[in-house]
Symmetry: C2
Subunit: 336 residues, 2 copies
């Protein structure tokens, strides 16, 4: 790698002249400046970003604690994050929580060693341990939590308005005259509980009963509770509609219904959640779902983080931002 020293040698000047010339400093003679810039270009000189980091105490790098590269919803969030980071001249270092790869405890110290200026946190799917919370609080740079949160979270958080989303989905079914409604829960994540809350509140508002046997918890199952759904749908006393935690759940429900010869939407209506990349339109019938705006979540989270970094930690009060959601009507809910 060419350094300033190399260019200085070639141009027969000192390193500080090179430094100033490349920054367009007006004290350097025009011809000298031009020559140095040409040589730098010729040798494809690139300044060492790490030196600048050491000097300024800012690495212009943020850390992303990531969960799951398979999930295109998280991928969409990251796409939004990158859009903003790039515009701000920041790079990102991604580390996976994945227990197989790196244990929790090491994630923070790895970010600290790389001196990231801030942290975007996709929380791991279990509740944070006290050890992990201690590490988080000891981290001396701004943190923004994304997509999932936990009770008592004191950091800034950006996610979807899950309560509203589930309410919209449930209202939609009720409006179409369906009242025997079940719910596929996912209680191991905060968004799952929020969606469940939205469902229960809406049912109660309309004086409809929430039947335990129609509410299945898919949380933690790798197959999103496929077997449980199958069991529920094969009983004679089964719901006419299912509001699902997300589109994957809805797909599994649809698949179970197909296996049992139950027609969608004539005999069973479905609403998903997420409008996950391509998935709802690949199904037949096309899935009605609550659209989220993951790119916007990513953009917003990055904006907040970058602002906190600029303003210093004291200026930035912790924020709790819920992004809007929208019901997308397709063909999986029975018409009146």
């Amino acid at each position: 790698m060419v350094s300033m020293k190399d260019i200085a040698k070639v141009c027969n000047v000192s390193e500080s002249t090179v430094s100033k010339a490349l920054k367009g400093h007006p004290l350097i003679k025009r011809e000298t400046r031009k020559q140095i810039q040409e040589v730098a270009l010729k040798y494809n000189y690139q300044p060492n970003a790490m030196v600048e980091s050491i000097q300024t105490g800012r690495s212009r790098t943020i850390g992303i604690a990531y969960n799951n590269f398979y999930d295109s919803f998280a991928g969409a969030i990251v796409t939004g994050i990158f859009e903003r980071l790039c515009a701000a001249g920041y790079e990102a270092i991604i580390i996976c929580w994945d227990e197989l790869v790196s244990h929790e405890a090491h994630v923070f110290s790895r970010f600290s060693r790389r001196r990231v200026d801030g942290l975007l946190l996709f929380p791991p799917r279990k509740l944070p341990t006290s050890e992990y919370l201690r590490e988080l609080r000891a981290f001396h740079n701004p943190i923004v939590v994304i997509d999932q949160t936990w009770p008592g979270n004191e950091f800034s958080y950006v996610g979807s308005d899950n309560v509203l989303g589930a309410a919209l989905a449930t209202e939609h079914m009720i409006e179409r005259g369906i009242s025997d409604i079940g719910f596929i829960k996912y209680s191991t994540v905060s968004s799952g509980n929020e969606r469940w809350q939205g469902f229960v509140e809406t049912m109660q508002k309309h004086g409809l009963p929430v039947k335990d046997s129609w509410c299945i918890d898919a949380g933690g199952f790798p197959e999103y509770g496929h077997e449980l759904i199958l069991k529920m749908l094969s009983r004679s006393d089964r719901p006419k509609g299912l509001v699902c935690f997300n589109d994957y759940c809805a797909c599994h429900a649809a698949s179970a219904a197909h296996e049992l010869g139950i027609r969608i939407p004539e005999e069973l209506s479905l609403v998903g959640f997420g409008d996950i990349h391509m998935l709802p339109t690949l199904l037949h019938p096309k899935l009605t779902t609550v659209k989220q705006f993951p790119e916007d979540i990513g953009r917003k989270a990055a904006d907040i983080l970058l602002e906190s970094i600029k303003g210093g930690k004291e200026i930035s009060a912790s924020k709790n931002i819920l992004m809007p959601v929208e019901l997308i009507c397709r063909d999986s809910v029975r018409r009146k």
Copy 2:
């Protein structure tokens, strides 16, 4: 952030003593060493990785030029990459090719400024321009190209054995007595052309005709040529089987067939490619597909890169590695 200076001040010793003590240098008195280590722990001291980088000329960081965070196949590759990087004590800086975010030309200089020790390249979906090739060659660190390649690529490459995969898929259909076979191409990427080649060779080997009107190019269409497939399947002269470039294509074909009331697999058999995360088993009937091993591709690519970094560029000859593929028989191909 606490520095060695801070610890030195607290312990009333010089910085070099701190440095040596923290490395467990035997020349430092046991008690001094212990005290320094305790203070470092108490203040949660983390060495600045960038200083080490400057001194050694190794950043212990690699760059990943990424394409598409929505694609869980690429996500699986990255998962494999991260597994190996983490084990080797490396971090990754990810930059997206996405034209909206960062133009091609800047990607390499951004990696250079961060002094990444090597590059894992998911090539952009178009053929490399000569400008881009020049930048690649000017990059003075090892490069490994992943998943897609191009004619005359002189860098190491790791991808799936696409020719074999398409051959397996085609053989499977022929074996089940289907001979009116079409193909959904995707000719804008190298894997697409390789799979096409595997299809054509197998058809010729069995003396079967490759009918132009049954071979659709979905390349470049955001909806994977859904409309074209629909048109083809609505003619009376339509294929009895479709070998598809990937699972997404197959999903669109299935969806088109559903719309037209064509039953799968009785009237139309389908084989996908990729065994993309959850997708084939969410369909009904479940999709027969050619399984790839993306995590292994990622692992292999990372291994080769890390080896090249260790060995220096001259030692590492450029390699061309094709990972095995496997036909997974599910329910979308008609039984004899």
